[in-house]
Amino acid sequence: MSNIIEIKKISKIFKIKEKEKGLIGSLKSIIKPKYKIKKAVNNLSLTVEKGEIIAFIGPNGAGKSTTIKMLTGILCPTKGEAVVAGINPAKQRKKLAYKIGTVFGQKEQLWTHLTPYDNFKFFGAIYDLKNYEIEKRIKELNDTLELEEFINTPVRNLSLGQRIRCEIAASLIHKPEILFLDEPTIGLDPVVKENIRVLIKRMNKEFGTTIFLTSHDVGDIEKLCKRVVIINDGKVVLDDSMENLKYHYLNNKIIEVKMKEKVNLSDEDGITILKDKGYNLKLSIDVAKKSVADVIKLLNTDKIIDINISNEPLENIISNIYKGNKK
């Protein structure tokens, strides 16, 4: 398969003006500004194959947005180079624009007083589509993203979920090869979130669109992506398949038990007590050191009322990776 995104040792350095507090501080910063150098992205390399759905995640300030902005031609890298759909975004911004679509969850691109239909017409014109092409495309998007019921309602009267669907549709009007989604499900309720995920998946399947997704929502990542890239401090700290991530980092099992009588158990090698309320216990077990069976043996099996053994949630895994990287 061919690579649709190739990032070669890209860096982005910001000069940030430092301002002291208060009025005098503001005046000072005008006369003699102080700058702080911040490496938002630091020597980052990455390749993405055509048709992939990739999750690009990391804590706040890790450099996710900066990377996306360099890939979409909004920012120029300080060092290094990226090639997106065969184009260097820093050099051929307009040419690139025809091949990519962007949805920034926190920034609206639509005209709110117009209907989605009128908006699509506008975006169609931006990408030089002929009228019949636009009509045809609207029909396709309509089928995939299920816009029928509100396509003629002004955007400002739509719910947040409907708006996001329209945002996605608008960004797909020109059949982009890659879609950049920055926090697409932010602020949505669980049902709508699920809905959007299904649509994104379907889009990937039907149009073969490569999807580059950032999200803080673990559900988005778990349900959509086969590959996860985690970055922190501007560097890639993990690049793996979702399966591997779960497998390798699933050394931990969580056991919750409800007992008839009090048990005395203390931390030992391989067992961490997360919660101890006498009758109710919550343990975390490192299966590399202690097997689940061993741990259950430690408990008086006759006195167990209820037991629940589960995998460590992906959310914890990811936050452990973030933390581990900090150290």
Binding site: F14, C76, K94, K95, Y98, T102, H113, L114, K121, D128
Partner: protein, 264 residues
């Protein structure tokens, strides 16, 4: 190249159409904004009526010429504010990172950033300008020259504002510079140049889009002069090119500071 220009024009026209549609959602406001702006401009007739009752010449201008000068200032201002409202908010657009939206689209960032919104009351300014032609005696020639210079001046004024607004690529808060520049241009454009002397006059003709945008056109309308007309056209082209140059220079820096400033 030609198709690119055509599609750019199509997009610009569509954004203006959509922006007007938005304003038309409330028709009473739409119309009252226009009518009150005409009244607003007309109120200054009183000031000049009083002044001309004392003296029949201000800086070499007759009463009719001063009224026409006001009309010219109104039409240039109106044209600029109607079609390029966002040029006046460029500083804000840059600082809040709203250029992002335009940067991912395959169209001119320069044009997208200054169009896509309209000021309704500016229609009142444009109409006021034309009313002043009728008040001071209508001729076809005057009408055509007035329209030509109105558009030319509107474009020059916009370019001047874009230059000031683009400074936001280098310094974060330049909205005061834009406001000051605008009030300088508008203030001087509504008074005859003959009352000013020395260095002020030089500033009006060189540093501000007032002399060449307002004073010279009025003199051309009174007495046609092809050389001066060419001068105005060349000035307009130069200032537009300069604004594009500065904007493009700044856009390269857009990456480095302001985006972070806006978020910190």
């Amino acid at each position: 190249m030609l198709t690119e220009v055509r599609s750019q024009i199509k997009v610009t026209m569509l954004s203006i159409k959509y922006a007007i549609m938005r304003e038309l959602l409330n028709k009473v406001t739409f119309i009252s904004n226009i009518i009150f702006m005409i009244l607003n401009n007309a109120s200054f007739l009183i000031q000049w009526l009083v002044l001309y009752s004392i003296k029949d010449n201000f800086g070499g201008y007759t009463f009719k010429q001063v009224i026409l000068l006001w009309g010219m200032a109104a039409i240039t201002y109106g044209f600029s504010h109607f079609f390029f409202k966002n040029a006046y908010h460029l500083s804000d657009t840059i600082n809040t990172g709203r250029l992002d939206t335009f940067l991912v689209q395959p169209k001119s960032v320069y044009l997208q950033a200054i169009t896509s919104d309209v000021t309704v009351s500016a229609i009142g300014d444009i109409l006021y300008g034309y009313i002043m032609i009728f008040v001071t005696g209508f001729t076809i020639e005057k009408f055509l020259l007035f329209t030509f210079f109105g558009i030319l001046g509107g474009i020059s004024l916009t370019a001047f504002i874009i230059i000031l607004g683009s400074l936001s690529f280098w310094f974060s808060r330049t909205d005061i510079i834009v406001d000051t520049g605008e009030s300088l241009a508008v203030n001087f454009a509504t008074y005859p140049d003959g009352i000013f002397k020395g260095i002020v006059k030089w500033i009006l003709y060189i540093a501000l889009p007032v002399g060449i945008v307002n004073y010279i056109p009025i003199s051309i309308i009174s007495k046609f002069n092809i050389k001066l007309l060419l001068l105005c056209s060349i000035y307009c082209i130069l200032i537009v090119l300069l604004s594009i140059f500065i904007f493009k220079k700044g856009l390269k820096r857009y990456s480095s500071t302001n985006l972070m400033n806006a978020r910190v």
